[in-house]
Every structure is written in structure tokens, then in C-alpha cells.
């Protein structure tokens, strides 16, 4: 039985056993359901093998929502533990695992797929393209992300979760202090998902640079496309650092190398530096597409063109450059000396300038606009003040001298949640509501949607504002409990209430999906929000080829021109359309990657070698494969267009 001992959980608790049972039951239910309703063929043909950017986008979004709930449960458990002093709900080890997985899941497996999902769905439509540049690669990106996420998520029931924080600093993350396989999961699951993300970066940069509709010059691209282009450039330059870093960490843990050890010349600070050389740009990978979504939503519902288009673009370019020059501010207290700290302090505060430009541009777009408050607009309006709180406290943290007071306290935790929730999560919810009709052909209920937005916004403040104060009073982050004498109790209880409010908000979101699926009208136009860009110029549901005729563009708001200024979008006849074929290889190859990762985590060398051979076999197959895609005939296009126009 020795072989199976390694899969046991080091710190088992009733909650974990309950989760095991729940996972098994859910899996059985899914398999049984698919079999009973005879949906296996449908699942395989329409989803698992698809290379359509719209379907891949939707799968990204679904995975992101799933992970949002996983990460959310972690968050509730943490806040419940801290709600009262000397609480015994969780032990220290369990708490360590939860804050680690909460961080990793929320950043890498929730926020990342959320933004990449929107990029997938929106960017090709917005630039008038038929798909991304490399549709097959796009499917591989998604499935690698998905398998990485699944591998990471089974850690808590097989072998133990990582427990060294989402930053996984060495030597804490080394074998000596993190004995379980948890940190192996961290190194390998993120590696697999990271490779997928890197490929997305390459794919979308090529798509945006080369596949825009005629007339759409760079400075006529919609703002979300601009933000995606810049984000993907950051991905291409930041993710290889993560690749190397995780490989080094894996080798330290499994092959006994000496990169980050404390003897034989190893340097633990190298991890911290490399981590944040990737980690800080990663923050902007999350926030820039969110800014892009706000720009779209705000100009749509202010019924005005975006104020300061050029300055919006340039501020994003400057942010992306500065994002690579600020990484040291994550560890001002870890011994660089005054000069290095001062330099990084200045670069950090400099980022507030282009970000401020963007905030003022949004405000000036609203100025004299005919504002319509819809759910996406409400999120955008709530974003501006709440994000500013997060941003201003960020400047406080950026002052290296003052940082000695804030470092590693709840003040920091409050800061980054006030940036990421109003910044990224609100944008994702705004985007989800905004693009929902384009994706699914009906609108989410506005009344429930607005209520959700208010509950989430107020709960965010209730949950995170108290942390600024306990942090300044000295409550350290990542401490699983505190004594009553500290006086942190009441404020933490308020935070817990806020966390419950957030949970209620997300439950309401799910209820809205259910309610609208049942009761919402299916009779909506292709452009229900009276929007301005190309993604609304095609039919709903979007045909597989996106646009029957390639659109002609002459400004950054082609659809608005078409509606108000008589611009002719679609000139010319139907022509045969060349489309890529579906393929099962991305899914199969990524499944083998899952086996590869799992074998690596548990040092099962023979399966590891077999899986490696399998991965290369898939690549070889691809090299020799003759796949020239298929053509959609003019007749077929006419029939589809006729049907969609009638609907």
C-alpha cells in the first residue's frame, strides 16, 4: 500500500472528506446525465473539438465562473475563521492552504480566463475577422488552461494543497518547509496553464496586427481591441519569465538543484525578483482589458464617442512599459537599500499618472453625455470611485519609506482587493451582462442585475474597508488567528459580513442567469444596447463565419457611423468562405498534459516519460497532418443569412 500512501491528504478534515464525496457524486451525475440525455456526441462535436473563437470564449467564461465559486468558497472560509478572535474553525495548516489556493485560483484560474474569454469572443468580431489567426492553437490554449486548472483543483483531495502563499517564496516553498506535494502542484499546474496563456498572447497579437477589416488602421481600433493588443504584448514578454521561474522551482523541489536554497550559493531572493518580474506585469494583464471593457461600456451608455482616444491608447502603452519597471515595490522591506527602493518608488508612483489620465477620460466621456444607467453602466459607474480608493492606497504603498508600516499587513490585502474587485471583477460582470445577449440570444434581467451590482459594490466596501484599519493597527496578513487583546475582532466581523454579502451577490447573479433563461424574451435585435462597434453589426446568434461580407471601416465607431451617418458597412457580394476544421487533438493533447502534470507532481517517472512521448506524438501528428479546412459555399451563406434575418 506504500504506493497509494502518497495520494493521501496530510491534513485531512471532515470538510475535505465531504468535498471528496461531493466531487465523486458530481462527476457521476455529469457522466450519468450526459449518457442519459445522449449528449456525448454533441459535447464532443460541438464543444470539445471546436476551434471556433466564440465557443472557446464561452468555455473560458464558464470555467472562470466555476473557478470564481471555488475561490469564493476559500474566501468565505478565511473570513469565517478570522471573524472572531482565537477561532478554532480552521487550523493553521488548513488556513495556509486556503489562502494559497484562493490567491492562485482567483488570479490565474478566474481572472485570467475571464479576460481571455472576452478577448476570444469579442476581439475577432470587433475587428471584423472570421476567427483568430491560429484557431487550432487557440483550442490548445484553452484546453491547456483548463487542464492546468483542474490539476490545481484536485490538489486538496489528492496529496494536499500548496501552502506557501500564491507568491510561493523560497525557502518556505522548498522541500524543507513545504513537505507535501502541494507546492509541486503549484509549480506544475501553473506551468501548464501558463504555456496556454503564452500561446494566446502570440495568437491574439498576430490576429490583431494582421486580420483587421479593411479601413481599420491601428488608431481606428475599438478600445477593447487596443487593450487586448497591449495585454497580449505584455503576456508574450512576461510569461516566459514565469515559465523559467516555475521550471527552476520544480527542479529545486524534485531534482535537488540549488537555485533558491540557503546553502551552496543558492539565492532565495532570486525567486522573489523573478516572481514579481512576471507578477507585476501580470497585474496589468488583468486590469488593461478591464479598462478596455469600461471604455466600451461607458461610451456606449453615455451615447458619446470615447473622450481622448489617443491619450487612452498612449496611457496604456506607457502603463505596459512601466509595468516591467516596478517589481521591487513588492518587497521594499527585503533589503535592497535606499537607492534601489527610491528608484522603484518613483517608477511605481509614475504609473498613477497614465492611470489618472484614463480615469479623467472616462469622466469627460460622461460629461454632457446622455447617460443611460443599465447594469453594465452601473458597474462602470461604481468602478470609478471604488477603484480610486484602491489606486490611491496603492500610491501610499508605493512610498518605500512608508511601506515599512504597511508591508504584509491587512492594509495591503485591502488595497489589492479594492483594485482587483472594482477594477477587474466589476469589469467582468459588466462585460458578461453587456455581451450576454450576443452570446446567448437573450438579455439578463436588468432589475436583478442592478440589485446584484449594488449588493456587490456595497459588500466590497463592507468587506475590505475595515482591513485598511486593522492593517494600520498591525494585523498581519496570512495569520490564521489573533488574540482578543488586539481588538481586531469587531472589524473582522464586519469584514465577514461583507464577504457574506459578496457571496449573496454572486448567488443572485446565478439566479439571474436562471431567471432570465426561463423568462427573458428571445425576440431581441442584433444590437440591443444601441452600441457603436462591429461586434453588434452581425446577427445574433453569430453565424460561424461571423460576417457574411467583410465589413468596411472608416472610424473607430463603424456601427455608429452606419446607424447615424449613413456609412455603408457591408459592400459587395457573398463569396465562398474558408474556415478551419474542428479537431480533437487539442483536447487529447491537453489531457495527456494533465497526466504528465499529475505524474510529475507525484514523481511517477514511468507515466511521466510515457506522457511526454504522447505529447510529442501529438505534435508530430500535427506536423504531418494535411488539414486545409473547409469552404462554406455561397448558397449555404445565403440560406444562413436568410434564416438569421428572418429570426
Amino acid at each position: 500500500m506504500d504506493f497509494f500512501d502518497r495520494f493521501a491528504i496530510p491534513h485531512a478534515s471532515p470538510a475535505i472528506y465531504a468535498s471528496m464525496v461531493a466531487i465523486v457524486l458530481t462527476s457521476v451525475a455529469i457522466v450519468a446525465g450526459l449518457t442519459y440525455f445522449k449528449k456525448w456526441g454533441y459535447l464532443w462535436r460541438e464543444w470539445l473539438t471546436t476551434v471556433d473563437h466564440k465557443r472557446i470564449g464561452i468555455m473560458y467564461l464558464l470555467s472562470a465562473l466555476l473557478m470564481l465559486f471555488r475561490g469564493g468558497v476559500d474566501a468565505i472560509m478565511m473570513r469565517a475563521q478570522l471573524a472572531a478572535p482565537e477561532s478554532k474553525l480552521l487550523d493553521a495548516q488548513h488556513y495556509n492552504e486556503i489562502f494559497t489556493t484562493h490567491g492562485v485560483v482567483m488570479i490565474l484560474f478566474m481572472a485570467m480566463p475571464f479576460i481571455i474569454g472576452f478577448m476570444n469572443f469579442v476581439v475577432p468580431l470587433q475587428i471584423g475577422a472570421r476567427d483568430v489567426a491560429f484557431p487550432r492553437l487557440n483550442a490548445i490554449s484553452f484546453w491547456l488552461f483548463f487542464m492546468g486548472a483542474m490539476l490545481f483543483n484536485i490538489s486538496f483531495v489528492v496529496g494536499g494543497s500548496p501552502d506557501a502563499g500564491w507568491t510561493s517564496y523560497f525557502p518556505l516553498a522548498g522541500n524543507e518547509f513545504s513537505e507535501s506535494v502541494g507546492t509541486n502542484y503549484y509549480m506544475i499546474a501553473i506551468q501548464i496553464a501558463g504555456i496556454g496563456t503564452l500561446m494566446t498572447g502570440i495568437n491574439f497579437m498576430t490576429t490583431i496586427l494582421k486580420m483587421r477589416a479593411p479601413g481599420m488602421t491601428l488608431m481606428k481600433m475599438p478600445m477593447f481591441t487596443w487593450s487586448s493588443l497591449i495585454t497580449n504584448a505584455i503576456i508574450v514578454f512576461a510569461f516566459p519569465v514565469l515559465t523559467v521561474l516555475l521550471a527552476m522551482g520544480t527542479m529545486d523541489r524534485l531534482f535537488g538543484t540549488q537555485f533558491f536554497t540557503t546553502e551552496n550559493g543558492g539565492m532565495d531572493m532570486l525567486w522573489a525578483n523573478f516572481f514579481w518580474v512576471w507578477g507585476h506585469p501580470e497585474v496589468y494583464i488583468l486590469i488593461l482589458p478591464a479598462f478596455g471593457i469600461y471604455s466600451q461600456v461607458i461610451s456606449t451608455f453615455a451615447r458619446r464617442n470615447l473622450y481622448g482616444y489617443k491619450s487612452m491608447v498612449w496611457s496604456m502603452v506607457i502603463i505596459s512599459l512601466l509595468s516591467f519597471l516596478v517589481w521591487v515595490h513588492h518587497f521594499f522591506t527585503m533589503g535592497q537599500g535606499a537607492l534601489a527602493n527610491s528608484i522603484f518608488s518613483i517608477t511605481t508612483m509614475a504609473i498613477a499618472v497614465p492611470t489618472g489620465v484614463k480615469i479623467f477620460n472616462w469622466l469627460l466621456t460622461l460629461w454632457k453625455g446622455k447617460i443611460v444607467i443599465t447594469t453594465p453602466m452601473l458597474y462602470s459607474m461604481l468602478f470609478i470611485p471604488l477603484f480610486t480608493i484602491g489606486g490611491v492606497t496603492g500610491v501610499m504603498l508605493g512610498m518605500s519609506a512608508a511601506d515599512y508600516q504597511y508591508h504584509n499587513t491587512m492594509f495591503l490585502v485591502a488595497h489589492f482587493h479594492m483594485v482587483i474587485i472594482p477594477g477587474v471583477v466589476f469589469a467582468m460582470l459588466a462585460g458578461l451582462t453587456f455581451y450576454w445577449p450576443k452570446m446567448f440570444g437573450f438579455m439578463l434581467n436588468e432589475r436583478i442585475g442592478k440589485l446584484t451590482a449594488w449588493i456587490i459594490a456595497i459588500s466590497t466596501l463592507v468587506a475590505f474597508m475595515p482591513m485598511f484599519f486593522t492593517g494600520l493597527d498591525g494585523q498581519a496578513r496570512r495569520m490564521y488567528t489573533y488574540s482578543e487583546a488586539t481588538g481586531f475582532g469587531p472589524l473582522n466581523m464586519i469584514s465577514f459580513v461583507g464577504a457574506l454579502g459578496l457571496a449573496a451577490g454572486f448567488v443572485l447573479l446565478v439566479y439571474n442567469v436562471y431567471y432570465s433563461t426561463r423568462y427573458a424574451s428571445r425576440d431581441i435585435s442584433a444590437d440591443p444596447w444601441d452600441a457603436r462597434t462591429l461586434e453588434w453589426a452581425t446577427h445574433t446568434p453569430v453565424p460561424s463565419y461571423n460576417f457574411a461580407v467583410e465589413p468596411q471601416v472608416s472610424s473607430e465607431e463603424p456601427l455608429w457611423d452606419a446607424k447615424k451617418n449613413g456609412h455603408e458597412l457591408f459592400k459587395g457580394e457573398y463569396k465562398e468562405i474558408h474556415m478551419p476544421n474542428n479537431s480533437g487533438v487539442p483536447f487529447i493533447m491537453s489531457s495527456i498534459f494533465f497526466v504528465w502534470g499529475f505524474s510529475f507532481v507525484f514523481s511517477l517517472w514511468i507515466p511521466l516519460i510515457l506522457a511526454t512521448i504522447g505529447i510529442f506524438a501529438c505534435m508530430t501528428h500535427r506536423s504531418f497532418e494535411k488539414d486545409h479546412g473547409h469552404h462554406i459555399s455561397v448558397k449555404e451563406i445565403e440560406e444562413t443569412e436568410e434564416k438569421l434575418r428572418g429570426a
Binding site: 489567426a133 491560429f134 503564452l198 498572447g201 502570440i202 495568437n203 497579437m205 498576430t206 496586427l209 494582421k210 486580420m211 508574450v236 514578454f237 512576461a238 510569461f239 516566459p240 519569465v241 515559465t243 523559467v244 521561474l245 521550471a247 527552476m248 527542479m251 531534482f255 535537488g256 538543484t257 540549488q258 537555485f259 536554497t261 546553502e263 551552496n264 550559493g265 543558492g266 539565492m267 532570486l270 523573478f274 518580474v277 474558408h578 510529442f616 508530430t620 506536423s623 504531418f624 486545409h628
Partner: protein
């Protein structure tokens, strides 16, 4: 598929042009990958712990042979692409085959070098310096190994399918990759070996 005959075969279709740009962007990511490894190497180069230093283990002869083989292979693949543009399939395949043989020679010497290092007490676990050295060299070597098989598959495809826009495109992209590995080696030669021996 629209073929534009005014352009070289590897650029002649829209799909081909997309692939070439995409690969350049991929090479940008590869530059970051190796830049990270070099940054790590420069940080850890003098942190030798109880293990040997670079000056103690580096030998000029095998390194020169490796350099010569890889530089020569970069030249021959250039000739191969030139032959491809002239439409001379046989010459192209010969130059590609020579390239891969030179690549194999490079790998052989590098593996020999690694064995010598380990015998001299510079294994991957010895010190931060040896870990970083062997990881950097190993990453480059792994790239050459993958390139060898990739090149082999391309030779087989060109032989069987002839010079089509698709195979020409693959061959051209492979040549970009191979030149890139050569550039990385020049950095390894200058900043790891030459600097280490001084």
C-alpha cells in the same frame, strides 16, 4: 487558397504570412525566456558554494568545436533556404540534411561536455552556479534536440510533397528557429564561456 505569385513561396498565402509573423512573436517570447536564464546566470555565476568555479571546469576545445558546428549549420540552412527560393528541391534537402547532421554533432559534443562536468564534480545539484549553468545550456540543448526532429519531419514532408506554399512556409519558419538558436549560442559562448574563462 489565394496564391500571390509576386511573393516568395513561403509568403505567398495569407495563412503563410500569418504564420511567419506569429513565429516572430514566438521568437520574441523565446528571447525573454533566454534573457531570464541569462539574468539568473549572471546573478548566480559567482555563487559556487563548495563546488568548482567556471574557470576550473570550462575547456576551450569542445566549446570551440560546438561553436564551429552550430555556426556552420546556421550557414548551411541559409543556403538551404536560398536553394528553396530558387526552386531547387534537391539542393535544399541536401543543405537541410547537412544542417541537421551538424546539429547532431553539436549535441554530441555538448553531451560529452556535460559528462566531463559531472565527472569533475560539477553536477546539477552541486551549487547554484552549476544548477544555473547546466539549466541554461540544457535549455538551449533541448531546443536544438526538438529542432532536430522538427527539421527531420520537414525534410520528409518536402521529399514527399514537394515545394508547396505550405512546405516552403514550414521550412522557412524552421530556418528562423535554427538561426535563433545560433544567436543564443553566440551569447552563451561570449557571456558564459569566454567571460568564465577570463
Amino acid at each position: 487558397m489565394k496564391i500571390d505569385h509576386s511573393l516568395p513561396l513561403e509568403y505567398s498565402t495569407e495563412e503563410n504570412r500569418l504564420k511567419i509573423l506569429g513565429f516572430w512573436i514566438f521568437l520574441g517570447a523565446e528571447i525573454m525566456l533566454f534573457a531570464t536564464l541569462f539574468a539568473g546566470y549572471f546573478t548566480l555565476a559567482n555563487r559556487t558554494g563548495n563546488g568548482p568555479t567556471g574557470a576550473e571546469i570550462f575547456e576551450i576545445t569542445p566549446v570551440l568545436i560546438e561553436t564551429f558546428l552550430l555556426l556552420a549549420s546556421s550557414f548551411t540552412i541559409g543556403l538551404g533556404i536560398h536553394a528553396m527560393r530558387l526552386g531547387n528541391k534537391k539542393a535544399m534537402l541536401t543543405f537541410f540534411a547537412v544542417t541537421l547532421i551538424l546539429g547532431l554533432g553539436f549535441l554530441g559534443v555538448e553531451i560529452y561536455d556535460f559528462v566531463v562536468y559531472v565527472h569533475e564534480g560539477a553536477a546539477i545539484q552541486t551549487s547554484a552556479f552549476t544548477s544555473m549553468l547546466l539549466t541554461t545550456l540544457g535549455t538551449h540543448g533541448a531546443h536544438v534536440t526538438v529542432g532536430f526532429f522538427w527539421g527531420l519531419f520537414i525534410i520528409l514532408q518536402v521529399r514527399k510533397r514537394g515545394l508547396t506554399p505550405e512546405t516552403a512556409n514550414k521550412s522557412f519558419i524552421f530556418s528562423l528557429y535554427w538561426h535563433f538558436l545560433d544567436v543564443v549560442w553566440i551569447f552563451i559562448f561570449s557571456f558564459i564561456y569566454m567571460k568564465g574563462m577570463m
